[in-house]
Amino acid sequence: MEELVHTLTNRSRKDARSSFRWLGLVFFAALWLVPAMGQENSDCFACHSDKALTGTKTGKSFPVFIDEKRFGESVHSALTCVSCHTDLEGKELPHAEGLAEVKCGTCHATEQELHAKSLHGKAIARGDALAPRCKDCHGKHDILSAKNRMSPTSVLKVPFLCGKCHTEGSPVTAQRTIHQDHILENFSESIHGQALFKKGLIVAPNCVSCHTPHSILPHTDPASSIARRNIAATCTKCHAQIEVVHRKVIRGELWEKEANKLPACVDCHQPHKIRKVFYTQGMADKDCLGCHERRDLKSSKDGRSLTVKIEELGDSRHQKVSCSQCHSEVSVSHLRPCETITKKVECSSCHAEVAQQYQVSIHGKLVSKNDPNGPTCKDCHGTHSVLGKLSPNSPTFPTNVPGLCARCHREGQKAAARYTGSQHEIIEHYTESIHGKGLMKSGLTVTATCTSCHTPHSVLPKTDTLSSVNRKNVPQTCGRCHHGIEEQFERSIHSVLVSKTDKELPVCNDCHTAHTIRRADETGFKLEIMQQCGRCHEAIAKTYFDTYHGKVSQLGYTKTAKCYDCHGAHDILATADPQSHLSRQNVVATCQKCHAGATRKFAGYLTHATHHDPQKYPFLFWTFWGMTSLLVGTFVIGGIHTLLWLPRALQMKRANRKRMEQENKGKNGNDKEA
């Protein structure tokens, strides 16, 4: 392949470009004037315009077709073939295979030299097969001017040209040590990339603007355009007088003159991700603490303490973050660098994603409305002592979360006071719930805390469809831990995925409640769940309570069958569904769970029977009324008999008493006489 290189002209920087054009013309004139050169381009194209023509190199065949039209459009159209393929000069045509490599440097000496010294050129010298040569960027016979939009070296195409090799997964990134990753993506998202690709600004910088086209060198090379000492110069090619807007960071021209003493542009504006600013540590922490370590330091405005406890900083998650990274408005050039601070700490500078969630949450909305009740980042995370949620001392550590939320959400506190929903004594209830007990008593940090259900930053009222505790989302929210149950539930008749109905279908908390969740094997829960089913299945629940199962349950015992014993709990299906516990295939087995000897006839027991429905249950209806008639009849007859008897019996009693009195009188009289 190598013998067909035709590159002559090179696309490069403006000044270089014009001078080489002249040089080219001189060559052209010289060649034109030499009649001894008998080889015309047409002679070459006599063979090379044949699309089927192939050559061979190291045993492999390859096409040697040259598109005459494209060659005609190229910057080298005025040259003859032998101008570049100099080894063919004066040779008989057709020529033998195995042409020598075209030397672009013959004409483009400067570029050739720069390239040879560059990272790429050195790699070629080492014999690195992946290193790019002239033709890899500029092409062969179809070289176009960099000004031509169609050229791979045109401003808009350069990132893609470089990106051919410098992209994730390419052999270059995989096999060579490139210290930056996702270069192309990062660049395209950077302010430079956006300007180039989105705004179409062809003056926006591309790869070669910073790295140069030919003398690409590692930043460790002092000669590199991106070396620490040169970077400012490179940036100021476009960002002239940038130091004016960087007063906070540097003092005047020092930046340009003694850049090595100052932070380089890329220290804050990361290469390729220029929009994201990272300030390194060490700027002024000691200076800040010089004052703020003092225990008696107080705000002159409101008298609040401004002391920063150094021991808190030491343990904090922001241990390696310097003061000015958060208190970003400091001015180093001032005696009191902090006097220029006007705003509170903006955590979103670093925690952008979380901040975005927070801003749409109810907490964030309150804060954005300047509501004093709205909690800000520091209300939950603290300030200088901020700890990660994995640290047991952190207020956001699972066992501390309920206490943290309770600060506002406990009854009587500010959040509870403004809350108008149905949940009360949330903290107390939670503490008594299975989750609360798991967390507080059993110390299980994997137990659900407030944030497990309400999310830490996207807290929204349940009426909001985006809320994790909105009806729509509750199964998924609970399913994050109770995944197996969620799977069952989503196949059940209660799931919106299965039942298409206008009626409100139950979700987890309808049966399990929100904050008073109990163990499902607790007696109280087992009994209560029947009332929960009955809220929707009113009639059928009532008839259940007419049966032995229901009556025993009503007495407060859990041993007899309750709704879920027969219907299933989370996997409830319509009885018509063959998978249902109560389908014809399964019902006997379901009865046998308790009644080992149950048969199909046994399963004919009416578990929801009522004697009030003559249509559905005529036997029961007539038995009941037959028995009731017997009862009423017997009582009527017995009652009449007794009631008629009563006055007579009373009469008899009075008569008896009278007789007794007389007898006693007689007796007493006799006694006296005696």
Binding site: F545, L555, Y617, W645, A649, K653, R657
Partner: protein, 299 residues
């Protein structure tokens, strides 16, 4: 219930079965033999237990039921008591049948004379006359009928037990062994059996604790109670007053003296009264509870 045997009388004598302060050595007429008295006591205990434990289920929706159920040690324990009492009740029934057969063998020559004799529990024409006569007496249109050994309401109570045991017992067994019975009968019959069992029980409980209590124990002339069924003894005056026909027959045949026995000592009477009062109170409580449940808490 009471069987054909010893005579008895119900007299308007104020002291009724109370031991008179004087004449404690006076002999009394023995109306119920020991076996029957024992059977009646066992039946009271069994019946009360059945009623209380059963009603906890029937009126499960009342607080009283839940309270009682706990008192019995939970529904399982209550069910156990219920079944033990049921077995006792069936035992009483069998013992009584055996007793009848033995009585016939010892005292009667044929079933015919036993069943249709004057001391039989079986209804006869005289009972119809007595019933009509009694209603006439209620409305002041005639004298009180001269009852024999068994009045018609006593006979009614007696046969009610036969009916009750048959109906409640059979349905009860079905509900006790549903897995066995549903091999032969459809499952929905268990629902029917439940209704029959519980409503018939309600009838029995309601009748015993109101009409039966009044008719045999609580009538004003006997107030506060007639303990003849526990002591088996009644005064001769009472016999003359309540069962004149039996008295005359006894005098005529000269068997009266055979039936006169010594009184129980006061301590026994006190024990009996305590027991009787307890039973009475439980019975009335159940009635009040049923009325409350039916009227105010019915679901």
């Amino acid at each position: 219930m009471e069987t054909t045997k010893k005579p008895d009388s119900e007299s308007p004598g104020l002291t009724s079965s109370e031991v008179p302060p004087t004449g404690s050595e006076e002999k009394q007429f023995l109306r119920f033999k020991r076996l029957n008295r024992i059977l009646h006591i066992v039946m009271i205990v069994s019946f009360m237990s059945l009623a209380l434990t059963g009603m906890t289920l029937k009126f499960a929706y009342t607080g009283w039921a839940a309270f009682l159920s706990r008192l019995f040690g939970g529904f399982e324990s209550a069910g156990y008591i219920h079944r033990v009492a049921a077995v006792a009740m069936i035992g009483i029934f069998i013992a009584h049948i055996v007793d009848i057969v033995r009585m016939k063998r010892h005292h009667y020559t044929s079933w015919r004379s036993f069943i249709f004799g004057p001391d039989s529990m079986v209804f006869n024409r005289k009972d119809l006359r007595d019933l009509i006569g009694n209603f006439k007496w209620f409305i002041g249109r005639g004298p009180r009928p001269a009852y024999g050994r068994w009045t018609y309401w006593e006979k009614f109570d007696y046969f009610a037990v036969f009916w009750g045991i048959a109906v409640i017992g059979s349905t009860g067994l079905t509900l006790w062994f549903p897995e066995f019975f549903t091999r032969f009968i459809p499952g929905w019959y268990l629902n029917v059996a439940t209704i029959i069992h519980s409503d018939e029980a309600l009838l029995a409980v309601g009748f015993i604790f109101t009409v039966h209590f009044f008719n045999t124990h609580l009538r004003p002339e006997k107030f506060p109670m007639d303990i003849v069924v526990f002591t088996g003894r009644m005064t001769l005056d009472e016999l003359k007053e309540d069962k004149p026909e039996e008295y005359e027959a006894l005098v005529k045949t000269g068997k009266l003296d055979v039936s006169m026995v010594e009184q129980y000592p006061p301590i026994v009477i006190r024990v009996i009264r305590t027991f009787a009062w307890t039973a009475l109170c439980v019975g009335f409580s159940i009635v009040i509870w049923i009325i409350y449940a039916m009227l105010f808490a019915y679901q």
